[in-house]
Amino acid sequence: MITKLKRILYSRKLLLSAFLLACFVVAGCAPAGITVPRGWSGGVVADGTLFIGAMDGKIVALNTTDGKRLWEVPLEDSVVAIYGSPTVAGDLVYLGGYHSGKMYAFAQDKIRWVYPRDRAFVDSTGKIAQIIGGAIIAQGKVFFGVDNGVVYALDAMTGDYVWEFPTGGKIWSTPAIFGDTLFVGSFDKKLYALDTATGNERWTFETQGAIVATPLVHDNTVYIGSFDRKLYAVDVTTGQEKWRFLEAKNWFWAKPLAKDNTIYASNLDGKGYALDARSGDKLVEFDLGSPVSASPVLVGNRVIVATENGAVYAIDVENKESNKLRGPLQTKDIKVYAPLTTDGVVVYMHTSDGKLYAFDAVDGSELNWSPISLKQAAVPPPPSQQSSGQGMNWGSIIALFASGIVLVLVFQRLFKRRGS
């Protein structure tokens, strides 16, 4: 019996099959969870037009009434992922490109200016530094942070350089402004308060984790969520901490929202928290069932929150009760990362498959033109359908099989020696 078993174990075909099977299993596991940068741009509505970054690298202007495309412009010849939401000021729309590492200003369907003019933002090694956060416009300047850790201020009309301020880490956060102070969070765990005119540092507030969330300024206080699982309230003038909320179980990624002295902060632990703006005391906790990375919006007296699985909740600011407006999306692999957008009545939700959903904030019913696909060019499929991940993952799979072949050769050699 044992001899028979040994013979089976020594069987070349069996071993080779087992090995190849192992290679396939391992290769199958390889792409799981590795993703391609595709973007999660939110939108902005101005004069009945929704401006949004599509996943095929275009800025798209849509008529909110019928969902018709008014115009679209690709950022570059090749597909550029867009993470930041567009910002509108006057007749210009501002948007940052991820792969291109540039800030763009559009006037209707024409590019007004691009910065940097010749090439792209770069990091200390000369590699392109991406733009992930959005821009904010004030005092005739456009402010934004770049992955190389630098905050830039440009002339909003011409795109001319005004000042820059280096931080100690990457910047993925969209800045916020209060008066003449700019607030921006960095991966170096600090919240920076900068003079909007000169870029000089006014104060810094250090947390214990990286900051990706956009700061919220409300009632002379800056509210900022951090990767240390805490939400901080900081005085806008002095940078002194007022309180901190400690009960969350994961990162704060989404921007908080304020209404009537209540701060609504959602967390990647799948919960939403309503906190007293003055004391930081927890008023209510909402179980949303899935992580929340998309910043919520306020529509009338309702805070609209979308979870990653696409479920949408409306929290009544009067009685602090939540009700589910929409169930999760049908396909498990399609997620909601992009900040929600509203025109005051309708909520717009950009999903990871490139579709735009438009639904009523009161009852969750979709508009008759919803959903529409924002992307027209082919973009990488969702992670679960990918045979490889970020660009070079094709290489990793090929490498895996190549090394598998080499191992088979080694194996065969050993057996050849036995059989020759």
Partner: protein, 320 residues
């Protein structure tokens, strides 16, 4: 539960959390963490590696008997195959032992690659997904990411364009491969050996150009550990560096005894010179001197062709 979720649960998530915590205690250096992680993985795989090395060593020691069989059954291939099979079984060899450590390491490479892409915040979606892989009870892991991507001259999230790392990866792999190469009298086998000797190092050097250097750092550390382990089990093997590896051996008494028995055969005697100094290998000094010491010591009466004066003496003296 999908295969991807199982993978995440049992391999990726533990690796990510351990890497982050280790990095905290290793001065926040992700590079140092990868090196320490390699040590731990290689230590855990020690039994498998030992098996691999033993197979390699046994292969070396029974070469003479194989040659003897080849000569004896030159015209009867079937009988030759049977006898060889018998010989391998008698030697307790399992060729699977050679490839198992590499197979086991493949999921580790993949998991390490995925971890690097996440913990260094190389792309937004992957970094966002990282939050769902962190252990809620390990408070430290949440605030430590993203990890430091700079290590020496390397950005661990990016391939090393300076070519230095690919050279080190290829070089260290070549040395390791060379140490394990089994000499053969068969010209076909020799050419296959030569191909194997260069193919793997070149392939990995090439891969280093496109993979994050964090993964390449793992390969380098793993190769160096492998070389050291190999040295202590089989000596320098097929590697010959004039003035350094000449005559060095770490073989034990048992192997020596085996070799003595093998060499007692006149056929084997005749075949030995051919086996141990194949000119095509281009690694000997022309007379096969160094090759004799690869799998173990040979009888004193073969000393003239076995080693240079003094070669391997240190170990022999130690045994005495």
């Amino acid at each position: 539960m999908s295969i991807g979720e199982i993978w995440d649960l049992i391999i990726l998530a533990p690796l990510i959390n351990v890497v982050i915590v280790s990095s905290y205690y290793l001065f926040g250096s992700f590079g140092l963490t990868i090196i320490v992680l390699t040590f731990i993985i290689r230590a855990l795989m020690y039994p498998l590696t030992l098996k691999q090395l033993q197979v390699s060593k046994t292969m070396q020691t029974i070469q003479v008997q194989v040659a003897e069989l080849r000569q004896k059954y030159a015209k009867d291939k079937q009988k030759l195959a049977q006898e060889q099979m018998k010989l391998y079984k008698q030697s307790g060899m399992n060729p699977l032992g050679c490839v198992l450590p590499m197979l086991v390491q493949m999921p580790i490479w993949i998991a390490l690659y995925q971890s690097i892409m996440r913990v260094l915040a190389t792309e937004p979606e992957a970094f966002l997904h990282l939050s769902q892989h962190l252990y809620p009870s390990w408070l430290l892991v949440f605030s430590q990411v993203p990890l430091q991507s700079q290590f020496l001259w390397l950005n661990l999230a990016e391939p090393d364009r300076s070519l230095l790392l690919p050279i080190v990866v290829g070089g260290s792999m070549w040395v390791q491969q060379k140490m394990t190469t089994i000499p053969s009298a068969d010209p076909k086998q020799q050419s296959q050996n030569r191909m194997m000797l260069w193919m793997m190092p070149l392939m990995f050097a090439f891969l280093t150009l496109s993979f994050p250097s964090g993964l390449a750092l793992y390969w380098v550390a793993s190769n160096i550990i492998g070389i050291v382990m190999q040295y202590f089990v089989t000596g320098w093997g097929g590697l010959v560096i004039p003035g350094i590896t000449t005559g060095k051996t770490t073989s034990g008494k048992k192997i020596k005894g085996q070799a003595v028995r093998q060499m007692a055969s006149p056929v084997a005697k005749a075949k030995v010179a051919e086996l141990v100094s194949p000119p095509e290998e281009g690694v000997g000094d022309g007379n096969g001197v160094q090759r004799q010491d690869r799998g173990g010591s040979y009888p004193a009466r073969l000393g003239a062709i076995r080693r240079k004066p003094g070669g391997g003496g240190r170990h022999r003296r130690r045994r005495r």
